[in-house]
């Protein structure tokens, strides 16, 4: 959503990935978001993640709804198709696209308004299907694009720029996803690229639905004192429980980790991620325990971040259905057609 195409200058010194591309090749058009908007940092992290994962740009599909956050797919990987749908309905479009072509990698970028208000039904059901996608919520507690109304993720007591504090129970995407059985659940902060990039990489490689809830402050409408989604508040109450490292398949898993401190998770595609627990007591493979922990830390005012739950065992949508490995969109139509003779035969039942 911009008028200005970024000039493509070649920087010979830039590092290249396996495909011979530089991170510049994963950029999009110039952002038109407010200077300092958290969403732009998420964009940068996404660019870094797909660059580092050596993803072919055109094998990526960038999906979104409507909102400042939903504009961001224009700001990364210009050589990937993008689909800026209607407000709150990105999950269904992604479901259909994925049903048609399971070979692409799907990144959905959404906002807290887009996902938790108008779009919460589709969000819930994409989780239920274990749709193979990386779902990023750029969570700022407000509707940025319509100028600052509270969203459903606003915390009780959070102050708006003017007016009364929010009184309604927030919807926390992480605990909602936990209660619904999402298979990769992370929370992070746009201001912490070091944590965010590996979480995104794990999410992209995870087979099934991966949620990355990123606190991404809105500098224009929700970054003041009293806001619980501001840069300052998030930094202050940040509680980082599980680090994740991404190990490239070609790399050896060098260290061996003491039980309870780090655990390797082998992903479907052959990749591995290593979880390092900062809080030894936390178990990111138990829905029951994770929920309880998160709730307790929430009550204590903390924002728990990191890879909070992962379940590699559950099959994603196509596997659950027993669908062809060939993308449905690539099967020639004449192979799908039973032909003239069959049509004759089958009609016997209608006589």
């Amino acid at each position: 959503m911009t008028f200005i195409a970024k000039p493509k200058v070649s920087h010979p010194g830039l590092p290249k990935n396996k495909l011979g591309l530089t991170s510049r090749d994963y950029e999009g058009v110039v952002s038109t978001l407010c200077a300092g908007c958290g969403h732009d940092s998420v964009t940068a992290a996404l660019i870094q993640a797909v660059f580092e994962l050596d993803i072919e740009p055109h094998m990526l599909a960038k999906m979104s709804g409507i909102g400042c956050s939903s504009k961001t797919p224009a700001y990364f990987v210009s050589q990937a198709h993008g689909f800026n749908s209607v407000h709150g309905r990105m999950p269904s479009v992604t479901t259909g696209a994925n049903a048609a072509n399971r070979d692409l990698m799907y990144i959905g970028v959404s906002g807290d308004g887009d996902s938790l208000s108008i779009g919460v039904g589709q969000f819930v059901h994409a989780i239920r299907r274990n749709l193979n996608m990386c779902y990023v919520i750029e969570n700022n507690g407000v509707y940025g694009l319509t100028k600052g109304q509270f969203s459903a993720s606003a915390d009780i007591g959070s102050l708006p720029k003017k007016g009364m504090p929010n009184q309604q129970e927030p919807i926390d995407p992480v605990s909602t996803a936990l209660s619904l059985g999402a298979t990769y659940i992370a929370r992070s902060f746009s201001g912490d690229k070091e944590q965010l990039v590996p979480l995104l990489k794990g999410a992209l490689l995870h087979s099934g639905f991966s949620l990355v809830d990123v606190i991404s402050p809105c500098v224009t409408f929700n970054d003041h004192e009293g806001s619980t989604k501001s840069y300052a508040h998030t930094r202050q109450f940040y509680n980082h429980v599980v680090n994740v490292d991404y190990i490239h398949p070609s790399e050896e898993i060098k260290a061996s980790y003491a039980e309870g401190e780090a655990m390797p998770i082998h992903l479907h595609g052959g990749d591995t991620i290593i979880l390092r627990k900062v809080d030894g007591g936390y178990d990111p493979t138990s829905r029951a325990a994770a929920f309880k922990y998160l709730r307790e830390r929430f009550n204590a005012g903390e924002i728990t971040t990191g890879l909070l739950y992962v379940n590699e065992a559950r099959e994603e949508m196509h596997e659950l259905m027993g669908n062809s490995d060939t993308p449905l969109s690539k099967i020639p139509l004449d192979e799908l057609n039973p032909g003239k003779e069959e049509l004759k035969k089958i009609q016997n039942r209608y006589r």
Partner: protein, 600 residues
Amino acid sequence: MATVNDVVIKIGTVNGTGSASANGLLRKSIFRMGVPVVGKNYFPSNIQGLPTWYEIRVTGDGYQSRSNRVDVMVAMNAQTYAKDLADVATGGWLIYDSTWPRSRQLDRDDIMVMGIPFSRMCNEHFDGARARILMKNIAYVGAIAALLDIDLDIITSLIEETYAAKQKLIVSNMEAIRLGYDYAMEHYSCPLPMRVEKMDATEGHIVIDGNTAAGLGCVYAGATVGAWYPITPSTSLMDAFRDFCLMYRHEPETDKRTYCIIQAEDELAAIGMVLGANWMGARSFTPTSGPGISLMSEFIGFAYYAEIPAVIFNVQRTGPSTGMPTRTQQCDIVSCAYASHGDTMHVLLFPGDPAECFDMAVQAFDLAERLQTPIMVLSDLDIGMNDWMVPELEWNDDYVPDRGKVLDAEELEKMEQFYRYLDVDGDGIPYRTLPGVHPKGAYFTRGSGHTKLGAYTENSDDYQDVVDRLLVKWETTRTLVPEAEIRYSAFNKAAILTLGSGDGACKEALDRLEAQNVGLNYCRVKAFPFTDAVRDFIEKHDVVYVVEQNRDAQLRTLLINDIDADQNKLVSLLHYNGMPIHAGFVVEGVLAEIAKGRAA
């Protein structure tokens, strides 16, 4: 009045009591005698315990609509006995279960009432509550066979086919048939003067409902992604698609599925999935009914503007709102044609019977991809869920699907730069690319303002350029949609114009009017936008009776709006009480207008 092969049998039962297979058996045996039939279901929006009817019109003339008359009523439901009795035409017959005594008040002098103790007989011959109920149904088939002279051998072979694997059931079914048959033969003079006689008018035909045919059409069109949310009366369309996919759509080596059916969380999601899949290059569709269209309308407008193919089957039911979900109407014409806010217009196809549901399913996918826009197939409950005799479905193995203007990797490689919304060919249809094919094909699909190059815009001229080009596409569309069915005779200055399930009633009415020396020409439109032939047709006549099944003359509205049809010529005949239209309504409507001074 003795008649042959012109009789209407109506059977009143309680829903959930398994009468459907008995009724099917009866309908099929008549069909196998070579006699055309029409089968209509009148069922409640309920699962068990309420009245339901099945009506079989035996029509040697091969008419396709219901008759508004009942000759032989089988009143198996005590609750509706009085109503059923009242519905029988003078000179007709009513059969009831005489196991229980019937009040004397419930009688008519002008018809013949026949008691047959179905329950008693079945209780004596069968064990178990369920079997007794089911066999009671089969027994009335036997009785009707005797009364109408239906071939017992055909019934037998049908039963044998059905229960080929369950020998026991063949025996019990045949026993039940015999019970009814013998009782009728013994107590009443069989056959009745209205009876069925073998003929040779069903060769090359089948009896099928429109939803089944449409589901089959989707398989043949190569649709792979079906997304839907259950809603009466469209549900059986996806059921059929699933059933045929189970037969035909597994990879031979792996047995994996080459289709994907997603039961969406609601209609908003169903259409979103369809758009995603079509955008990705799969043929994808959703069946729904009125409430679903309302819910889909935001996305339909998106697809119009972002130019994404989609196929939507709207099996219409009686509106507005929840309305009567198990009754028919053609009431979503305007809401589909202009679905969504803003300036939008959508292509509609109007199948007239199940055979056209099959054909138009295939055409819909071709048009959707050719035109890059949603195509809505407007069927209705009458076509979708009732049993129509139609010519055998045909398939040409030379069929080449029209994928429209899709650039492949090679073409993209050769291009300097791809622009999504350029009118390269002057037909208003731009080129598109599929994700995952080539990095040069990438563009950003959006429902917000865009230029012809595909960029975001808030600029007035750039915006207008694109929406004006959509009007060019609309005119191209007019040349690609299925042509209307037109019957001309140079002498008639008046005509009937209808759509969809109005066909049968109108054609029968034409015959009847002709017999009264009222000659009329005929046009059945098959698509919106309307073709030039439709425009010409209206221009050539002084009066055009527009017959449609809604209150607000929605087809008439489109005719005036789309092709500026002369409002003074278009006289509406509107049938909208939820029952399928019948010829009598049209005949009376036309005659009444003529009586008022309207030209024939």
